[in-house]
């Protein structure tokens, strides 16, 4: 079995996000990029499958600032091969990425491709279904459990309200991972450093990127809402007092403990 995991970096939402002076993209000057958390789950799911069956795991990521560490971390977790796609990705969208990654995947011929179900900066759909269509393979997203049997994958697909569909997919296929069966494992920085010395990132240049497939954005702006919370300021003591009076107003303090 061979599994390819596609991983990308996304803006860290904890940082302040600003719009580029051009007004149609994010300002990337100070943008801190981190691994898309669902891609991290996809890596974990691949490693879990490797631990159960003898599977080769290849992790592919486009070259964004910080990608080397992400790839070496995947390697420290158990990935067998790490590939960095190089090129100019400053204004790339998922359609272009899907086409480019599909061309690599056609060469690698994996049985299964895993990627995160979505990323916070997706604007032309998530990459999984586009990738699957480029490969002419079936896709199942919102997946939170995978078992492999011969040439099929049995997956748990999430529906709203906690309902789960158990499905079987004939391989090769692409899955969009929502959550791995266990939280992504932690690897010590020292282990990642060690891996950096002993393993290599396989760099593969991508030349032509075809961004078609997305309508033009004419304006990007910070979310502005008509309503905003009434902000309570002061010391923790003062804030707690105010909140207690809110609880009283709402009539929820008379209740006895359950």
């Amino acid at each position: 079995m061979k599994i390819v995991v596609f991983v990308k970096l996304v803006p860290d939402l904890v940082e302040e996000l600003t719009v580029d002076p051009g007004g149609t993209t994010l300002d990337t000057t100070w943008l801190r990029m981190i691994i898309n958390e669902f891609d991290d789950h996809a890596v974990e799911q691949a490693i879990l499958l490797k631990e159960k069956t003898s599977t080769q795991v290849i992790v592919i990521a486009p070259d964004f600032d910080g990608v080397d560490e992400v790839l070496f971390t995947a390697c420290a977790k158990g990935a067998d091969q790490i590939i960095k796609l190089t090129g100019d990705f400053s204004s790339i969208n998922n359609h272009a990425l899907a086409r480019a990654v599909a061309s690599r995947i056609k060469i690698l011929q994996p049985d299964l491709v895993l990627t995160g179900v979505q990323a916070n900066n997706d604007i032309d759909g998530s990459i999984g279904p586009a990738l699957a269509a480029c490969l002419n393979q079936p896709f199942v997203g919102y997946v939170s459990g995978v078992t492999l049997e011969d040439n099929t994958a049995i997956v748990q697909k999430e529906y709203p309200g906690g309902v789960i569909a158990e499905m079987s997919i004939t391989l090769p296929a692409v899955l969009g991972i929502q959550a791995a069966e266990q939280p992504p494992r932690y690897v010590a920085v020292s282990k990642v450093r060690q891996v950096m010395k002993t393993s290599n990132i396989d760099e593969q240049p991508l030349d032509e990127l075809d961004n078609s497939g997305f309508p033009e954005v004419t304006r990007m702006f910070q979310s502005e809402t008509s309503a905003h919370a009434e902000m309570i300021t002061g010391s923790p003591d003062e804030i707690a007092d105010r909140l207690v009076s809110v609880f009283k107003e709402k009539g929820i303090l008379q209740r006895t403990n359950r």
Binding site: I123, G162, A229, I239, R258
Partner: protein, 321 residues
Amino acid sequence: MSQDIYVLIEHNQGQVAEISYVMLAAGRQLAGIHGSQLFAMLLGYQAQGLSLDIAADKLLYIDHPALKEFAQDAYLLTLTEIIKSRQPRVVLFGNTTIGSDIAGAVSIALGLDLASSCRYFTSDGKFVSQICGGKIMAEGNLSSGTTLLTMVPGGYKPEEGQSEHPPVIENFSPPVLDNLRIKNIKFIQPESFDIDISKESILISVGRGIQTRDNLELAENLANSLGGVVCASRPVIDQGWLPTTRLVGKSGKHVKPKVYIALGISGAPEHVEAITGSETIIAINTDPKAPIFDIATYGTETDLFDLIDVLVEKVEAAKAS
């Protein structure tokens, strides 16, 4: 190309998903702008009954055993046929477990433009999408060809997509659906051993800001003194710190308590869509730009670790007095 607006009706186990009605409301607005008709597409098996309250001019019904429940490959084959033959102006999908799985594939297969996470359309028909956990909005014009969009809830009331008059049904023959590679085996219903958070009136909800499992005790203390129940955002559940029955959000429960206290929750759209029915939302978050403050009634930027113990003491004191 026609100017008609097409909406994919989403359903699962015999129930139409709420996002379908949100899309019908949006579709109605677009049909008004383009002076055209609103079509609903229902793919199913002996499922005409699901169409009764759908507010559309026409309902295209496609009947096939392989379409009984959602399967991406069968849907993809069917939808590409419909879109090729009808050439709509716009096709709306949910940004959901169904719509997101196929919209991108239809886009690649037919070479049509796709914009995701659209929240609403402006009065002149531009789409407005939300990205970056709801912090950034992107506005754009529809493309010149058929444009595909996935929609998130929040911009339209589902009731606006419902009607007492059933739509006119038009049957559309399904394409050959053989050699399918995806099969539904069974549906697993959520566990019901736990309390039902959608029925609770005081919820203390914890997010990633709680940092560790041990810190959940803080939330439990507050819940105990207020007579409430602890629930959580997805990252906390994925860590296994609370059972999935306590998950609030798109993939968990929608809640409508009297008071919802969000501790260290950013307010991502997948979380927010499930709490807007709360009477009062109190958000405690150190990031002044956290989107949770846009929907909360009260907010404070205080560190939750400085506040909770004090708050529990004060609640206890107030109860004793």
